[in-house]
Symmetry: C2
Subunit: 238 residues, 2 copies
DNA sequence: GTAGTATTCAACCATTCAATTGATTACTGT
DNA sequence: ACAGTAATCAATTGAATGGTTGAATACTAC
């Protein structure tokens, strides 16, 4: 191998390593995960990930250095977002590789969620059909902004902190399927706990490995609006 | 957020970061790239990547720690291989993300290959059809072991070092399309140079972004065997 | 067993990295 | 202009990393 060939290879792999370095820190992965849900300000990211603002800013600049995220100045705030959908897809591939290869992940998950594996048995296709046929209510418990940035079709949005005082929006004669950011987000677990305590039949929709397909499936965007016919339930515009 | 939730998240993201750390070093990426072509001993990897054996061994152990590769002791040698196909797919997704987002990569590539972009215009589908119809010869110039571990269907194998003395195996009335490990491997570029000097019509098959699809397409494996009818040309068994 | 080879281990240095702290810049509303 | 807020920058700390070197281990061939 000539010296110039080696220089070329070194240069090329060093470039690709920029992406690897960007996703080699747990905190940056958490930030990236959040950004895959919706764009956010530095401050919002910092509080969501339990980091100092300065530290968050530095991590975001590493992510930006690898061109995974972009920043836009909006008045007093700087809004970060993933640079393009391919970034989210990469993140999901990486996550699913981790799920496939790292037994520790399932172990940690099981330890935390208590091995109940609440939901999991029902296939996602079946699930979505049941929701369309009105046998179940799909509930998105993430913050409203994330719902607005994209959600599963047919889902209604009640952010977890508002859930207790908005229970009457949920029909009591159907099962509630709560979902949030993915298999490692705890919002839906808390929602299910609360709903069950209130007498609902509630399951956690894990949105696990199939995140990809689900997000590939018809995703709904935009503003949610009240449906006049029903009891104040927020439904998505299709 | 409760303390236990935070611990859970930290633990989970730390696990995923293991994969990120594994692919955050240029050298490890080069090793992984080589392993995606075919399994190899530490020594073979070290010499292919211009590293000391000890250093290679350490990098491989990092990759193994992230469960991306597996090692098997075979007599005096330790053979490393990618743990499962999903690893190669992840690597390709990462590479294609880099190609999409990092302008530097195309720049470095152009600088090295001289901007000729030898091949690129012809779509891969078209290309493969032309090969099947006998209008072109598809030539794999990688080492024989890599060819045996998997190659494009219809390709014949002549490792670059043997090319000069095996030119008579290539029909002179057809175009030769040489390929190697991918868009950043220089073997095929050298092959094209040699072939053109010898009066062949030769193009480099870049196997760029579409690596995925190509590798997803019918890949041929196993032992190559001589075809009695033709002039000693090695063809793949289908 | 002995010699020789492939790999890993252990100790070491230089560099890089994550996170904290305090200062600085950029913008908004009054 | 001034105060207040969001974000970044700069400097520092301790920990982790990449790479080298030389010794130790595991296996093969004789």
């Amino acid at each position: 191998m000539t010296a110039s060939e080696r220089r070329f290879k070194d240069a090329i792999y060093e470039q690709f390593a920029r992406i690897g370095k960007a996703v080699s820190s747990p905190k940056r992965l958490e930030l990236l995960d959040l950004l895959c849900q919706a764009e956010r300000s530095v401050e919002a990211l910092a509080s969501a990930a339990n980091l100092s603002t300065a530290n968050t800013s530095q991590h975001l600049q590493v992510l930006r250095g690898a061109r995974l995220v972009e920043a836009e100045k909006n008045g007093l705030h700087v809004i970060y977002r993933v640079a393009e959908p391919a970034v989210g897809e990469f993140f999901l591939v990486m996550r699913s590789l981790g799920q496939a290869r790292l037994a520790e992940i399932e172990q940690i998950s099981r330890d935390f969620f208590g091995g109940e594996k609440d939901f999991e048995a029902v296939g996602q296709q079946v699930l979505l059909e049941r929701i369309r046929e009105g046998e179940a209510t799909l509930l998105d418990v993430r913050p409203a902004e994330e719902f607005l940035a994209g959600h599963l079709p047919g889902a209604i949005s009640i952010p977890l902190p508002e859930l207790r005082r908005r229970l009457e929006e949920l029909p009591r004669d159907r099962e509630v399927l709560a979902y949030c950011r993915g298999p490692y987000c705890v919002l839906s677990a808390e929602a299910v706990e609360l709903l069950r305590a209130e007498g609902f039949a509630a399951l956690r929709f894990e949105e696990g490995d199939p995140d990809r397909q689900l997000r590939g499936l018809p995703l709904a965007f935009g503003v949610a609006e009240a449906e006049p016919g029903k009891t104040g339930t927020i439904k998505t515009r299709f």
